[in-house]
């Protein structure tokens, strides 16, 4: 508690827009009401602490543009959080979240959402999640998604989408509507095919990235991937592939089993 007090006093005096409390073992913010009077703060970094929750009073810091709580023990975010009207970047990666609160999609200017390494899946997202059309980067790596809702296509400004090491059995064709996408990370899932619509995207080039390794791809995709990402894209744009994809979907084979052992993830512990 006294640890936090020192930072609060200092921030009050300096009026610095940045407040960094990193790796200080802080477990509770509500102990210190003065903390929520620091409304001049625009960046709050609480990385590597022991917070189990973010209090609803966080909204008193209404000038926040960046909120970083990576590597804490947060199980829940307050419903009020989406009323932080200036928040552009929120990083709650490496916590114990199994859901995002109702109304989370109401952030008006959120650009980067990082929830890497939590316990989220397709049922963890609130109904308005895909209203976040100001998002340019969405980090969902190291979670438990098996599917991605087709509404993903509404995130028109998305440039970066990370779905690394989930349990995905399919990618919705609506990803092909994300005209601005230039990074797609889908490595380490249970994917066998790609929807041909992904061929609409430009993910090959020095400013783009496509990561698809460690998936049980059908042989032709696996073969193309061996030679290079551009070959995968050339291939999925062919009529041959569209035909094979149609047949594959019609066959409706059961998805490959889960192979990743997630029991050691620290988001699971405690």
């Amino acid at each position: 508690m006294s640890k936090l007090k020192k930072y609060v006093e200092e921030s009050k005096n300096t009026k610095s827009p940045d407040l960094e409390i990193i790796d200080r073992g802080v477990s509770n913010l509500s102990d210190n009401p003065a903390f929520f009077e620091l409304s001049h703060v625009t960046r709050l970094t609480l990385t590597h602490n022991k917070l189990t929750t973010i209090p609803a009073a966080i909204t008193n810091l209404y000038n926040l543009e960046i909120l970083n709580c990576f590597n804490n023990h947060i199980k829940e975010l307050p419903q009020t959080i989406s009323s932080l009207a200036k928040l552009k970047i929120i990083n709650v990666g490496m916590n114990k979240l199994s859901a995002l609160p109702r109304g989370f999609g109401a952030f008006p200017v959120l650009e980067v959402l990082d929830v890497t390494y939590n316990n989220l899946n397709e049922n963890s997202l609130p109904a308005n999640f895909f209203h976040l059309d100001s998002l340019r980067a969405l980090y969902l790596g190291d979670n438990d998604f098996e599917t991605i809702p087709p509404e993903i296509g509404k995130l028109k400004n998305l440039q970066i989408l990370v779905l690394r090491e989930n349990d995905l059995v399919a990618i919705p064709k609506e990803i092909g509507e994300l005209q601005r996408l230039r990074e797609l990370h889908i490595q380490g899932n249970r994917l066998t095919v790609l929807p041909p619509e992904i061929g609409n995207l430009d993910l090959v080039g020095s400013r783009q990235a496509f990561r698809g390794e460690n998936n049980p791809w059908v042989t032709p995709i696996a073969d193309q991937y061996q030679v290079g990402v551009s070959h995968v894209f050339d291939y999925i744009r062919t009529e041959t592939y569209k035909f094979l994809y149609g047949r594959h979907m019609a066959a409706d084979a059961p998805p490959p089993p889960k192979t990743a052992d997630k029991s050691k993830k620290i988001s699971r512990l405690g």
């Binding site: 590597n71 980090y139 601005r180 783009q208 050691k264 620290i266």
Partner: protein
């Protein structure tokens, strides 16, 4: 007979006159049904003829024995008429002493013989129509002689407009574009439609990609101005301020027209793209003013509509094309980097915005950092990652570098 509008170069229009019809349906019927042409004036204009017929009926109620003032026919039923009255016009029999006699225009009938020439029924309420010596009930007269209106489908009794191979009530015959009445003003046939002169001129101009002057109704060959939503020859107007005759550069401001010089002096912003005044929302950018919908990306030409744009060498770009062409938008603050750029993982940063993505602490070129989902992670933070994650990251890194 043909109507022409006042000739107006360069496109004098010839109007089709209403009376200039080929052959009317009525005229045909009349010939078909006419037993005795009797030297009638067959060239008579059909609608006039029909109007004349109508004037014969409806006849007054025969039982009333009255007559219409000014109408030469006399109809009546008399009893105890003299024996010398003659025979029934229909059956040729004489009349008994106490029999009723129908008397119409000097001819007599038994009441049961005074019936419609078509349905042989007595005339309802005594109303009949006479045509070519035969008398018809109202229903059959309509069926036999009155044409149907091409618009409303009702019988046309009285003045009929014959046009476009159809018959019309005068009030139903209207311009198919503006619905203005055509019965008295004449019409122009345009692609199978009857149009008024104005609409026809507009249609013709539209086909040529031109406007029709709202004042003089002729096609504007070059350089129109818009005034209160209509197109005009500029020379019909003078500048509201300096009175000079206007040309196509004239501008409308609050319902008044000004020449370009006077307009510019009034300080109304002119769009940098279309050179027209901006009456609504103005976008100020690149040292110019723009219509919202004319301020577009120099590459894809899509309007920004208030979304962020990026400027370079006097041109504006959308984010995606700016990034594609010049590539230096800071990943952290999402704005254009004008000074030194730090590049890593397909991304760019302001040098002072390059920081660990986990702890936000600033990093320099010399700082050692790791990659995590194509984001930079400082050594301190990487070391704090759980072992199982580090193991996975190392495996992925090794696989990547095997290639």
């Amino acid at each position: 007979m043909s109507l022409t509008t006042t000739p107006r170069p360069p496109n004098p229009m010839r109007l089709q006159s209403l009376s200039e019809r080929n052959e009317s349906g009525l005229f045909q019927r009349r010939r078909l049904h006419a037993n005795e042409p009797e030297g009638q004036n067959n060239t008579q204009v059909p609608d006039q003829l029909l109007a004349g017929i109508r004037e014969m009926g409806p006849q007054p109620d025969i039982n009333a024995g009255a007559s219409v003032p000014g109408f030469p026919l006399t109809n009546g039923i008399g009893s105890d008429m003299s024996m010398g009255i003659g025979v029934c016009r229909r059956c040729g029999e004489g009349f008994g002493q106490h029999q009723q006699i129908v008397n119409s225009n000097g001819e007599v009938w038994h009441p049961q013989c005074f019936v419609c020439a078509q349905c042989f029924q007595p005339f309802p309420e005594g109303i009949f129509y006479e045509f070519e010596g035969r008398k018809y009930c109202e229903h059959d007269f309509h069926v036999l002689f009155a044409p149907c209106c091409g618009k409303c489908g009702e019988f046309v009794v009285g003045r009929v407009i014959k046009a476009l191979n159809n018959s019309w009530h005068p009030d139903c015959f209207r311009c198919q574009l503006c619905a203005g009445p055509l019965a008295d003003s004449g019409f122009v046939k345009n692609a199978g439609r009857a149009l008024c002169r104005d609409c026809n001129a507009k249609e013709k101009a539209r086909g040529l990609g031109k406007y029709v002057c709202h004042k003089c109704h002729s096609i504007i060959e070059e350089g129109h101005i818009k005034y209160k939503g209509e197109a005009f020859h500029p020379y019909h107007f003078n500048c509201n301020s300096c009175s000079i005759e206007l040309n196509a550069d004239a501008r409308e401001v609050n319902g008044e027209l000004y020449c370009l010089r006077c307009h510019d002096k009034m300080g109304i912003p002119i769009c940098g793209a279309c050179r027209r005044p901006i009456e609504e929302r103005v976008v100020h950018a690149l040292g110019k003013a723009w219509h919202v919908e004319h301020f577009v990306c120099a590459k894809c030409e899509k309007p920004f509509f208030g979304t962020r744009h990026y400027e370079k060498k006097g041109l504006a770009y959308c984010e995606i094309h700016y990034h594609q062409l010049f590539g230096n938008i800071c990943f952290t603050c999402n704005s254009v980097i004008s000074g030194d750029v730090f590049h890593a993982f397909n991304k760019a940063w302001h040098v002072n915005h390059f920081a660990c993505s986990i702890c936000d602490r600033k990093m320099s070129q010399k700082t050692k950092f790791f990659e995590f989902d194509l984001k930079p992670v400082c050594k301190f933070c990487y070391d704090k990652f759980p072992g199982e994650l580090k193991k996975r990251l190392k495996k992925a890194y090794d696989e990547q570098n095997k290639k």
